[in-house]
């Protein structure tokens, strides 16, 4: 399976989903005009990936900002990844937030409550 790599733009995050290593990176900002359209290829890639995932899947999420319309799309992506855990394989989320960014910490905790898979909220020291 080919690696999904999308470069960060002003409104969209950096994406690097690597099927061979199982490391999935989402990083930066997500405030696209049309979130559903933007996340569609990403969700499709994940749907394919979860058919035969790597030994260990680690989803590293490090957002600076995301808008509310992205929030549902991000949740959908994480829920798809959670299927791996449900199927008994190893998958976890590492949700990073910058030191003092209470809002992003809370967001991580919120997602951790909803998504049924190991979920770690991690502070990045300044």
């Amino acid at each position: 399976m080919e690696t999904l790599e999308l470069q960060a733009k002003n409104n969209t995050p950096y994406i690097n989903f690597d099927a061979s290593t199982g490391i999935m990176v989402m990083k930066g900002r997500s405030t696209p005009e049309n979130s559903v359209e933007y996340y569609e290829p990403i969700t499709n890639w994940v749907l394919n990936y979860i058919q035969s995932p790597a030994e260990n899947t680690i989803i590293k999420v490090q957002f600076e900002y995301f808008n509310t319309s992205s929030s549902k799309c991000i949740l959908d992506v994480l829920k798809k990844f959670a299927e791996i855990h449900k199927a008994g394989k190893s998958a976890k989320v590492e949700w990073y937030f910058e030191e003092d960014d209470e809002d992003m910490k809370e967001a991580g905790e919120d997602y951790g409550d909803i998504v049924k898979m190991p979920f770690e909220v991690i502070e990045i020291p300044e």
């Binding site: 409104n11 405030t31 559903v36 509310t68 799309c73 949740l75 003092d100 960014d101 809002d103 909803i114």
Partner: protein, 187 residues
Amino acid sequence: MSNYHTLYEKMHDNNIMLTFKGEVSFDLVNSVLKIMEERLDRIEENKKTRKKVYNVLVECLQNLCNHIETSDYEVQGYDARTALLIIETDAEKYKVVTGNYIPKDQVAGLKERLEQINSISKEELRELYKKILDNGQFSEKGGGGLGFIDIARKSGQKLKYEFENVNETVAFFTLRIDVPRKDSAEE
């Protein structure tokens, strides 16, 4: 011509950072965000506050933009596609004000939503957000009524609003969000 000088002085006295009146397109939203990001970087030392103001702006502007995209009506000469945006600051807070025309039959529903958000605690807001995020109906572009809740959570303040009757069918909706400067709100 001296009117313009008066206007300028008034804007200066109110510490207006940015003001706009007109059609709100997504390109405009991006331009405003870019300008505001640069200004906030210059004048706001607190990174947390910078992020909060930016976040509130994103939601306010995208709210306006979405509203405008779904409103192809023009009611008795009141153009639903144009809006007002004012961003002010003083030592205590940032103020983000938006104003736009809405059909009067939307007033009651909107008021109810805003009142609900204003009447519940911070923790309840968080639970409501989570509930809508997990179960809510989302529109084509992904909006789903989370905008106002997010604005209330990020600003930590009640949403200030006003509906002004324009005529039998049209009202002017003003929304004001205050974002406190420094960490005075919580710590």
